[in-house]
Symmetry: C2
């Protein structure tokens, strides 16, 4: 699946928090975003021109992405006039919600009538995923892993892609979740893959490549998560990473939403992820730690990272506050 672009980002009547997907797309791929499409009451603002779907198409957009999330992952009825206008104007539609665009009869009928496409990126692509082979592939691979969900794995992978490309190194971000897929324009939503095919999907996502090329693969979940560890393990095995970066949120004490499950210590998390990865790549190792220190002041965050770096003996950084240059250094030392 390769998404058409440029993008127009549909915000509906969202606030800043529920526009997280659109915010990520606009932050990482500004060159691909030409407009935002809002409804009355919208308090999110990506700094893009606010246009109607028709005007967005005239401005060059080819895909309208539903860039908002809500509880339940629903397609709201009051979005339909905008989405139908987009189809009429010549835009394809994309969403990564639990519910599918293709299951809304008005959208399915309009798309069929007009020859437009509906991209439900969270849905498995039936019949296209092979079983994992376990065969070693050419090229280098980094996978971000985490002490929990929502700890900056996508952000860290994208920051590493940007840093390596800035240094003139061949590097490709590989997306495994909805927002990542919109940013990359392609990818596999691994949490929606049938369990038997997760490792195979990860193999297909980062195919053979030039020997010096780095795939920077977006991690999912955590080996320490009571609901999603299996997804994480399949992704680790299929990715065959040479390098892992452990991601963490400073101050988080238990798995988000699971009060009985403490966040693992760094040595434990590093050991578990290296052990898991070495089944399919015996050279795999954690090369650094990426920490979201936003709960701390800048000075405290700096102190935290320095202490952690000393304790772990690995480069540690906050990708938002200070970038990922030390992680990129460690990565290139592996070559």
């Amino acid at each position: 699946m390769q998404l058409p672009s440029p993008y127009a980002l549909f915000l509906g009547d969202a606030d800043r928090l529920s526009a997280k997907t659109a915010t990520g797309i606009a932050y990482w791929r500004p060159e691909r975003c030409v407009a935002q499409v809002t409804l009355p009451g919208c308090s999110a603002d990506l700094g893009l021109p606010s246009l109607s779907p028709r005007a967005a198409h005239a401005a060059g957009a080819r895909l309208l992405i539903v860039g908002i999330a809500n509880v339940g992952g629903l397609i709201a009825a009051h979005w339909l006039p905008s989405l139908l206008e987009a189809l009429e104007a010549g835009l394809d539609l994309a969403a990564g919600l639990h519910h599918r665009l293709a299951d809304v009869p008005a959208l399915a009928q309009a798309a069929a009538r007009l020859g437009r496409r509906l991209y439900d990126v969270r849905q498995p692509q039936p019949g296209q995923t092979p079983m994992a082979t376990g065969r070693k592939r050419q090229g280098r691979r980094l996978l971000t892993v985490g002490t929990d969900c929502v700890v900056g794995k996508m952000f860290t992978s994208l920051a590493l892609e940007r840093e390596l490309q800035r240094r003139g190194r061949p590097a490709t971000f590989r997306a495994t979740g909805q927002t990542g897929i919109f940013i990359a324009g392609s990818g596999v939503s691994v949490d929606a893959v049938i369990s038997d095919f997760v490792a195979g999907a990860a193999e297909a996502l980062s195919p053979d490549n030039a020997a010096e090329h780095w795939d920077l693969i977006e991690g999912q979940g955590s080996l320490h998560h009571p609901a999603y560890a299996g997804v994480t393990l399949g992704l680790i095995h299929g990715s065959q990473p040479d390098a892992l970066v452990l991601c963490h949120v400073a101050g988080r004490e238990h798995i988000d939403g699971y009060e009985d499950y403490p966040i693992p210590g760094f040595p434990e998390a590093i050991a578990a992820n290296e052990r898991a990865a070495r089944l399919t790549n015996p050279r795999a190792r954690v090369i650094g730690i990426s920490v979201n220190t936003s709960k701390l002041s800048a000075a405290e965050g700096d102190l935290y990272l320095r202490a952690l770096q000393q304790q772990a003996g690995l480069p540690c950084c906050d990708p938002v506050r200070s970038g990922v240059a030390p992680l990129a250094d460690a990565l290139l030392e592996l070559e």
Copy 2:
């Protein structure tokens, strides 16, 4: 999903090997099987009366199970006359193949017209599986794990159910694969579940129960399998087993079909499975080893098991040759 019974087992023109599913059902649930249905050329024989679908219904059968497997998991065109006769005679149909009965138009139409049901047990039941909660449930649970796929996990779980029930202990086999589901009459085909929901499906499969009740959960895959370890991990986490039994085939040297992946040593396999299980049940431990020694003579097999028992410090047995009484003893010692 609860399957109707008694069963008639459809063998088509299968040989003994491809009738593995039917053989398992007839071996473990003879009281539920009233007939086999064969086509000319069939060389498999379950020792059941060979009847037409119509005669099987007259003999009491309520469900015709496609008890054979082929490469590709296809529903063969030359089976259709028998399957249609079964529907006409009043039988529901069940299969656990990759392809679905419900996707064969002739079967779907006949079932709809006659008010019969088609059970595709390998298919995920959409929208019914909750996310895993990680919450501790009442009752005891044993899960079989393996050094590889196809090493006797289902057989060992069923043998333990039989042995505990023989001793008057409350015990229930919980099925996670096609054959197991036909044997139990219900269950979840975990390899067909969307990856995010595997642990949740395992939680739902072995719900709260009486404190002294044992669920004997059929394991899947192996933590050491490059394609399926994620499925195994999700099943381990959701099952929250108090006890694990490690299953193995004596003489197997690499993961079946994956020549670059050696079978793990027993200490390594035991440590990996205990570590994984302790995330959701800190008391989990491997209580014994179940070995298929069929590649050895009876005397050699006995020698092998005695040496292994000494080395591992755990009860070891071949469930086919000598039963699982030592494993049941170890299990009941946990109480």
